[in-house]
Symmetry: C2
Subunit: 236 residues, 2 copies
């Protein structure tokens, strides 16, 4: 937690003072060992960042005097479309994507996605938000990403994708395609990452028809947790 993320529900005195208990209080008390007068890096969810002074702290709660004057870091110009992975991977990818500054994440159904994965409790909106917030706290950001769940590949591709990719470079990470991944692109990107075992030809064809290019990362096959930051480092 490199930034304490506040919400309007924490405010006890119009905009300037907040009281925290629970996870953030424990972090401030037990990890940061903060004392009265110490200054902490804070941010208001979907708003500005800044500093806060500890004005009171005990074993139940902490009160901070908050001064928010900085903008959060720029968002990454990337829309991530990801074949729904297993629950543990969903969690790690949400955290990682959030820390990387990705603000648009779409979990998509594909032929090789096990249908039972859509029942996972990790896809409940509160659980998704929890992981996204961990990513924001890690990266020092305040802007909560949007996460969409799309259970029909065809409906998504036909009805939503055309508008999404407008003005972006649309790429699919697909092993063995032979096309080298572009570097240092100066435009927004829409990135599709398929499931374990890959997208099937029908899916790749549909995306190609929409204008997507397959890009290849060489002979190695990476886990989605690895390939996402790898591609962000490569593309931007």
């Amino acid at each position: 937690m490199n930034l304490i993320l506040l919400t309007s529900a924490d405010v006890i005195d119009s905009h300037h003072r907040v009281r925290l208990s629970g996870r953030r209080h424990r972090h401030i008390l037990e990890i940061l060992h903060a004392q009265k007068g110490d200054r902490l890096t804070v941010g208001l969810l979907n708003s500005k960042m800044g500093q806060a002074e500890v004005v009171a702290i005990d074993k139940n709660s902490v009160e901070l005097e908050v001064n928010l004057e900085n903008n959060p870091p720029l968002a990454l110009a990337l829309t991530l479309i990801l074949a729904l992975p297993r629950p543990q991977v969903v969690k790690r990818v949400l955290q990682s994507a959030s820390s990387l500054g990705i603000k648009n994440i779409i979990f998509l159904n594909c032929f090789r996605v096990e249908k039972s994965l859509w029942q996972s409790s990790t896809l409940r909106s509160e659980e998704i938000k929890e992981q996204l917030i961990l990513g924001l706290e890690q990266a020092k950001d305040t802007i909560l990403p949007d996460v969409l769940l799309r259970k029909s590949f065809t409906a998504f591709v036909e009805e939503e994708l055309p508008a999404l990719i407008k003005g972006t470079l649309p790429v699919v990470a697909h092993p063995g395609s032979g096309q080298v991944c572009p570097r240092n692109v100066r435009q927004p990107v829409t990135l599709v990452i398929g499931p374990e075992g890959g997208l099937i030809d029908f899916e790749l064809d549909r995306l190609r028809q929409m204008g997507f290019e397959n890009v290849d990362l060489g002979e190695r096959i990476y886990k989605v947790e690895t390939v996402l930051p790898f591609l962000v480092g490569r593309l931007f």
Copy 2:
């Protein structure tokens, strides 16, 4: 497991036939649902890769007829020097580094590394090897990385680092340094990643004296699991 990694201990008939039980057998039986006559991707540890035919399989073991004729993918020209992280992170980083093709990994002590971390059982050589093998099986590689543990920053920097960085681009990932990370370098790299909280000035100064450049990844702070593939994607 995109490749079944074999060792010479699995061989039951000079070079051509292997018998597997345990984890790899279960994977072949329960995940791949392989039957007699099926062909699998295999590799021999620290040697070649190829195909194997299932010649016998039951609930106790599987026998494969192996044909190894391909070279493993090229190693990544990167030496990774990493401030020792927490045990769970050690595991994930070993797997990820191994899958990325990194063949030289050094866990280093630094001022902000908790000394108790050096007692972790994850640093036992068998446990390290287990994670490295998971990475090789993921990426389809056979060459086991070397992992060194160095508990004295100063001794390592003075006695070993000069030879290690010879002919390489030596860089330290350090937030706030202002130097943009180089892209698409065409030479070997020695990469230092500091601990949570960063390297201290003394450590940064010592590395700078040796010829290291600090490189900056922007305002965000990433977890080591995220920053490693990010940097590999960016640098190569």
